[in-house]
Every structure is written in C-alpha cells, then in structure tokens.
Amino acid sequence: MTFSIARKEFQDTWRDGRFRWAAAIVLALLGVSFLLARQQVEHQRKEREEATKMERDNWLNQGRKNAHAAAHYGVYVFKPVAPLSVFDRGLQPFVGSTVYLEAHRQNQAAFLPAQDSTSMRRFGDLTAAACLQLLLPLLIILFAFGTLAGERESGTLRQALSLGVRPASLVFGKALGLAGALAALLVPVAAGGIYAFSGISGMDTTTDESWLRLALMACAYLLYLGAILAISLTVSALAPTSRSALSILLVFWAVNAVLAPRLASDLAQWSHPMPKLAELDAKLLEARKQALNSHNPNSPAMKEFIEKHRDASGKLPPNFRVLLMEESERQTNEVYEKHFGGIWDLLEAQDEVVTWGGLAAPLLGLRSASVALAGTDFTHHRHFSIAAEDHRREFIKMLNNSHGASGRELWERLPPFRYQPPSLSQAVSVAMPGLTILCLWLAGGCAALYFASRRLKPS
C-alpha cells in the first residue's frame, strides 16, 4: 500500500506543471553553475601551472648572486585548485592563492580571486552548492506544504483515511513519493556534477579519494534535503491550513538560509572576537623589533647575541654569520608562529561556533561539511599555508648553508614546491561535526513526522 501511495504522489507531483517549470529552472541554474565552475577551475589550474613554471624558470635563471640576496629575491608558490571546488568554492574566493616566500618574513597568501571581481560579487556566487543549499529546499517546501494540509482542505485526505489506510503509511508513502520526484530531479544534477568533475582537463580527478569525497558530499546533501522534506511534511500534517503551512515553512527557510548564517557569524565574532588588523600589525611589528634581526646591528638583541658568541679573546667564531642568520630566522619564525597561529586558532574557533550553530539551522551544518569535503574550507587553507611556510624554512636553511656556493647549481638544490592536500580522513574529521548535525536533523525530522502522522486529522 505504501508503494501505491508513493507512486501516486510521484505521478501527481510530476504531472503538476508548476513542479516541472520549477525543476527546469533549478536544473538550468545548476547546469550553468557547473559549466561556469568547470571553466573557472580549468582557467585557474592553467594559470597557476603556467605561473609555477615561469616562477621556477625565474628562480633557476636568476644568475649568480649571494645566497642571502637570493633568499631576499624569494620565490612564489601557488595553491593548487581543489577539484571539488566545481561544487563548492567555499572560502576560495576570499583567501589568497599565492604565497611569496622570502627571508625573515612569513607572508600570508595573497591575490584573492574576489579582488578581481566586480561589486556584483556581493550578491554571492552561482554555485552548485548554493543551488542545492538554497533553491532546492525552497522547491521542496513549495511542493510539500500542501501534501497533507492541502489534501485536508480539499477533502481527499478524509476520503483516503475513510478507507482504513494507516495514517503513518499514508504519510510515509507521500514522503517516499515526493522523495522519488526529487530524486528524479537529482539524477540529471548528479550526472551534470560527475561530468563537470571528471572531465576537468589536465586535472587528475580519478583518485579514489576524490570520488570518496564526492560521495560523502552527496551523502551530506541527501541528509540535508531529507531533513527539509521531513520538516516540510511535518508542518503540512500539523498546520490547520495549507496557507499557514506555507507561511511557517517560508519563515523556516528564511531563518535557515538568510538569518542564521549572519547571526552565527555575529555570534562567532562575539564569542571569539578578532582584533583589528591595525592592532595585529602593530603587535607583530613590535614583536619583530624585539627579535634578533641580522640586518640591524644596533639592536639590543644583536648586541646580546654578539656578546654570547665572543670567545675569551673577544673574537667571534668563523661561522658567526651562519649562526646569526639561523638564530635570526628561528626567532622570526617564533614571532610569526605565535602571531599567525593565534589568528588561525581564532578563525578555527569561529568556524566551530558557526558549525555548531547548525543545531539551530541545518544549513550551517551542511556548509561546514560541504566545504570541508570539497577542500575549500579554512582548515585546508591553513594546511596549505603551513606547507608553504615549511617550504620557506627549507629554502632559507638551504641557502644559509650554501657555504659560499652560488649560481644555477645552488638554485637547483631547492626542490619545486609540491603540495599534498589533507587526506580524506583529515577532511572527514573536520566534516564530522557538520555530518553529525545533519544526521540529527534528519532523525529529528523523521521522528517529528512520525508523531505528526499519529495526530493526523482528516479535517
């Protein structure tokens, strides 16, 4: 019987011209978003590959010069494009993609894609993630609000219940039918997504990890959409009229999609306030002044370092310059580690607040899981920044220990920067709170729907 109910609901939904139109619009938007994202990812990949090659050539062909001068000349490293950013760009437009590695200084990633955009970007990007997070729930609401409340008003619910069907079977069958109609809509979405993902030219997306990440992302979205469906049907079962069901669900959508992300962001800033940039810069400058600087012979730290290394006759060791540069780097590194480490910890703590805000609005849990699995969240960015900094330290250490060597032979000793993004298990551990929240929403939605079915009134 449940199958009959599901089949009828599926057919009824598909025969509704409004559903077909709305589905066509959502599909068109998703199709465009996939195409644009794929183009953008291909363009970025090509651009960064070319820049990496050019930068390597520049480094190798810089000519003969002092190793320390080469350390100041520096190199640029580029963040590889995450393949799954075709679905969810996450923080990518707002964090830098390029790090300049040089002596004595740890630079933040620069060249934000958002800087190259027009002011229209403030309205948000058209991404597959945005369509699935915002538009599809709206579609579910528009076609689920009347499923029970509308039938109660039209009298078909009374007719159905008079035949001895169990209310739980009726509600479950309707949920299955609607889910089936949405699944039929999601099949072309999945096909488009796989096409956009697998065919990115010049990018190896065939690894098991990439596909597992994609599969887990799909699970996260299914949990989210399932929860929205269960909530919509619960409201439809309990609301006295279809109009009130629609009003309640639209308020829920607005809170979930519009209000909650802003409130959560404010709450995160309130609970873990980020100091002003000028204050941070001033503190960093002060800390650097206190640290040993090989270019400042009159600083107290330098005088102290010289005194420490003078022998009984007052002479300095022959490798004093190497020791000075190593110590100067060590102290500068400590300053930057403390400075950036503090900011990054703060940003991660803010992210955590926003993620757990998902207990109040499921979208926050989904966003957290989605960007973590796509590799476009802050944790992935921090991982890249640390890898770039590790490379810088190797680079400086190699040059400090060059023992007077110079030229291409020395420059070739510096290996190219090869970045290995976090593993799947690392990404899953970051996504886990978001996935847990989505599971809770789905379980809660199903429980609410079950209790609503027990209170289902024919009129």
Partner: protein, 248 residues
C-alpha cells in the same frame, strides 16, 4: 452490520449526538433526516472513527470503531456530499489509488468494469477528473464502494446538488448495492429520495433519534408533515400526525 449503542458525543456542553442507538442490517437503506446541526454528520464521523465518542459505542460488522478504527473502516465505503478526487488523475487512476488504499488491488479491466457498472461512460473513465461533474464524481464513489467490497456504505448528503436525472441514477445504484447486501446509512435533507429509496427512516433532533420508521409504516404518511412536527418543540409526534385528513 452498522450498530450504535447509546452513542454520545459532546462538544463543550452541547450534545451533538445523544444516546443514539441504531441497528442497520445488511441490505437495509437507512435514511437519517434532520435539520442542519442535528448531528447527522457527527454520527457519520463517529462511525468512521474520525471522532471519539464520549460514551456508548459504534460497531461495523462487529468491529468496534473506537478500539479498532482501521478494521472498521476497511468494511466501510464513504461518499460525502462531494466525492473528492485527484484532479490530475483520470477516473480509473483515482479508483485504482483509492481501492488500493482500501486494501483491494484490481487490474485495469476490472476497474473499468466497475466504473462502467457505476454508470460512468468508458471514455469518461479515462479522462482527468478535473473535467467531471458532481454526478460523475458520485459514480466514482459508488464504484469505489463496489471495488472495496464494502459491507456498509455511509452517505453524507449524496444527492445534494444533483439534477433529478443524476439523482435518480444514483438511487438506482444505491438500491443495487443494498440488494447485494450492503448496509446503507444515508444522511440527507432530501425527503423525496429518502421516501423513494430508504427501507427505514430516522429523524434526528438535537442529536437524539426522535423518530424511527419503516418504509411500510410511512406508506400513507405525509413525510414532510411528520418531519416538521418532529422538529417542532415538544414531545415526538404520533405517526398518525403525519397522515393527511383523507388518510385519517
């Protein structure tokens, strides 16, 4: 088949149905007359298990409606004033869906036969019901009663708004169902149809059964007069009060 014993339902302090005791056997058509608010629809809702009685009980073919509403409903077909169907479905698809809800899955040929048997033209059966008239919808309701092999039929103002021809056609189908052993309870304002079709007529006043007569007893009685006298304040009238002067 359909039984109520001291069935009572109150809304706040008002008794919508008060100590109602009825027994409708297989093949009987019981017309329940009464003004608006007399308790006819409440009685039907109690028999369907959509309302819980405050006291007394209702049974359908032995199944207690309050304690096992699903089993009771499985033996009932319900036809309201306007049979509500899914407009984007054809008559045959609606019948298929509703009969499967009633636990009777039938093939397309059987469904078509049932609809034609209920008086619906074959070409109408495969048309979307959004184009159906009220009479055509009532026929789908009758076909549903046939499809689910209901033992009892509950009708709430079934002929209201039907033209005389459609109303006559509907009555014939009803009698056919009764002849097949279905117990029928018909809540109606239509005195003409009640006299024509019913084997027994009950008159409800303020939730109480004020009169309960067989068709034979009402043979020479002006039903309208009797009905109006039942509705007037005071004790229930004698049957002779409904008779015309010549009949007396």
């Amino acid at each position: 088949m359909l039984e109520t014993a001291n069935l009572t339902k109150r809304f706040n302090d008002h008794a919508a149905v008060n100590n109602l005791t009825l027994k409708i056997g297989a093949g009987e058509i019981f017309a329940l007359l009464g003004p608006n608010g007399a308790g006819k629809t409440t009685t039907i809702n109690l028999l369907l298990g959509f309302l819980t009685p405050d006291s007394g009980e209702a049974r359908v073919d032995g199944s207690n409606v309050a304690s096992d509403p699903i089993a009771a409903r499985r033996k009932i077909a319900y036809i309201p004033e306007q049979v509500m169907l899914y407009p984007r479905f054809t008559g045959i698809e609606n019948l298929d869906y509703f009969s499967s809800l009633g636990g009777r899955k039938r093939n397309r040929a059987e469904l078509l036969e049932l609809l034609v048997g209920a008086g619906l033209a074959e070409e109408s059966a495969i048309r979307r019901v959004s184009t159906y008239s009220k009479g055509m919808r009532q026929k789908v309701g009758i076909a549903l009663a046939l499809a689910t092999e209901a033992k009892a039929l509950l009708l709430d103002e079934p002929t209201s708004g039907l033209d005389p021809a459609a109303s006559h056609e509907f009555s014939q189908l009803l009698r056919k169902l009764a002849d097949d052993g279905v117990a029928v309870l018909m809540a109606t304002h239509d005195l003409f149809r009640a006299r024509e079709d019913a084997t027994r007529i009950g008159i409800l006043r303020d939730g109480e059964l004020s009169g309960n007569y067989t068709a034979e007893e009402l043979k020479d009685v002006d039903l309208e007069q009797l009905y109006l006298k039942h509705l007037a304040a005071g004790p229930a009238p004698a049957l002779s009060e409904g008779k015309t002067e010549s009949q007396k």
